[in-house]
Structures are given as C-alpha cells and as structure tokens.
C-alpha cells in the first residue's frame, strides 16, 4: 500500500517558517493570508498499513510537538 503522511506543527506552537511566509506574501500582492503553517510530507510504500500509526508515533512525527495525518494513496 502507498501512503502519504502529513506532519504539521501542533496548533499553538510558534511556527516561524509559517510566519515568514505569511509576511512575505503581501510583498507579492497577496493580501489577507493568515494562519500559514509549514510541515512536511512523507510518502511511503508499506506492507501493512496497520503499522503506519505506530511508525508515526515512534519516528515519523514527534507527537509532543507535531500532529500527523495518514492518507492512503492506493
């Protein structure tokens, strides 16, 4: 099975990457953009999709500071 894991900073944790992007957009004429957050995307083929959650908890994300979302791709 192919899957995509989205990892984001938890709500409420200062995200300076997001803030930097938010501040840059008006300079290009894109006004009114708010709540920009930057995370990462991990795509992987897994033999057992039941293991994905465990992988996220133990390695792919740090649940203390990051939320993750698993999306099946096939």
């Amino acid at each position: 099975m192919r899957a995509r894991v989205l990892v984001r900073p938890k709500a409420g944790i200062l995200d300076p990457q997001g803030i930097t992007i938010e501040r840059a957009l008006p300079a290009l004429g894109f006004e009114g953009v708010e709540n920009v957050h930057v995370g990462r995307v991990i795509e992987l083929d897994v033999p057992d999709e039941g293991e994905l959650r465990d992988m996220c908890e133990k390695l792919l994300a740090n649940p203390l500071i990051e939320d993750y979302e698993i999306q099946p791709l096939s």
Binding site: I13, L14, P16, Q17, T20, L59, L60, N62, L64, I65
Partner: protein
C-alpha cells in the same frame, strides 16, 4: 571517575567533550553501534548532527544500540549530560521532558552567552551556586525548548541574551530525579582560559564531585 562520551556518525563535539571530561577524570569514547558503556560512571551525549539529523533533530540517534544502554543507565540513576544535539537526543529518547524547536529567528546562532544556574541540586550543577552566572557559548539552529508541562529548569539565559526564543529563557532542564541534564549551551567549549571562559568546567566537576573523586 570514568566518563564516557557517546560518538554518533555526525557528532562533532565529542573530542572537546572528551578533553573536558579528562580535566576531571578518565574519559573514553562510546561508539554508537555498540551496546558497551565500558563501565563508565557518567555519560555525556555531545553536540553535532547525529545521523545527519535528516528527519528531525535527534530522532534517529535515540534508536542506536548505545542509546539503549544509556537509557537503562539513566533509569538506574546514572548521571547523563546532553549538550546541544545531545540534549535533543535525550528529549527524543524520552529521558528528558519536552522537545527542541527551530530558533525563532530561523537563523544559526553562534555566540558567548550568560546562563544562570537556577537549580544547583542536579548531578551536573552540584559544584555551582544557585543564582551563579556562567559564561558559555551557544551554537545552534534548533534550540527553542518547548514542553507542554512544567519541567525542572536548571539553566536560564540571562536577561536579554536568549538566542532562540525559548519560553522563560530556558537554556537547560533536568529529569525529575536530577541525574539527567540537558542544555543547549556548550560547557565543553568553556573549560580553559584560552577559550575565554572556564565556567563550563563546573558541570564536569559537579559529576566528579558526585562520584567522590
């Protein structure tokens, strides 16, 4: 007193840490791929970029064979000091609470800072006085400490010098028992007057004092 300094692929401060440890006792390197702590009385997890820090700082190093032994050693009350990347590794390993986030400035910061010892009861601050200020360098990009729960704070940046935006100027923390300590500043780079400061020596002297040497 025998101190062990862990060496991961990507460590870069292990030699300085070893030299600092040699000021207070015997010191050996502990290779990441081995389960052998060589009978040491204390462990230092040094700075650098363990396993490249490719996924997230410290995330891969925690699974190394040597870290499994360090975790058992720490849970038995053995003194363990994590410096910079070592601090990040100890947090990822769950030996210390919290995590380290990118600096608020998103920039690498390298400079001498003042830190205040706010807890002089831990294995690595016994030779310090509470409230004492130490002059020690920082050099990191991911040093903004974060914990959702209250923690045992050991070091705070002195007023106005916080290099990473950590809440309450937290520079270093300990586990509840005080035998595991982690900090972002580098005491091993401040152990000789040629470094501009030898204040960092006090952390190593503290653990030697603990062992009665």
């Amino acid at each position: 007193m025998k101190l062990g300094v862990v060496q991961f692929p990507g460590s870069c401060d292990e030699v300085d840490a070893l030299k600092a440890c040699e000021r207070v006792g015997d010191a050996v390197l502990l290779w990441h791929g081995e389960h052998d702590l060589k009978g040491v009385d204390a462990v230092v997890v040094p700075g650098g970029f363990s396993y490249g820090d490719y996924l997230r700082v410290g995330a891969i190093a925690r699974f190394s064979p040597v870290m499994q032994e360090v975790a058992a050693f720490a849970r038995d009350g053995g003194p363990v000091l994590g410096i910079c990347n070592g601090f990040q590794v100890l947090c990822e390993a769950g030996l210390l609470p919290g995590a380290l986030l990118p600096n608020q400035s998103l920039r690498f910061v390298c400079r001498q800072v003042g830190i205040e010892v706010v807890d002089a009861e831990t294995s690595f601050t016994r030779a310090c006085a509470r409230g004492e200020e130490l002059s020690i360098p920082v050099k990191h990009t991911t040093g903004r400490y974060y914990s959702p729960d209250p923690v045992r704070v050991v070091f705070r940046y002195t007023q106005g010098v916080n290099p990473n935006g950590s809440p309450e100027d937290i520079a270093g923390v300990a586990n509840e028992a005080g035998n595991v300590v982690g900090l972002m500043p580098h005491p091993e780079h401040a152990v000789d007057l040629l470094h501009g400061s030898e204040d960092g020596l006090k952390l190593f002297a503290s653990v030697a004092e603990l062992a009665g040497v």
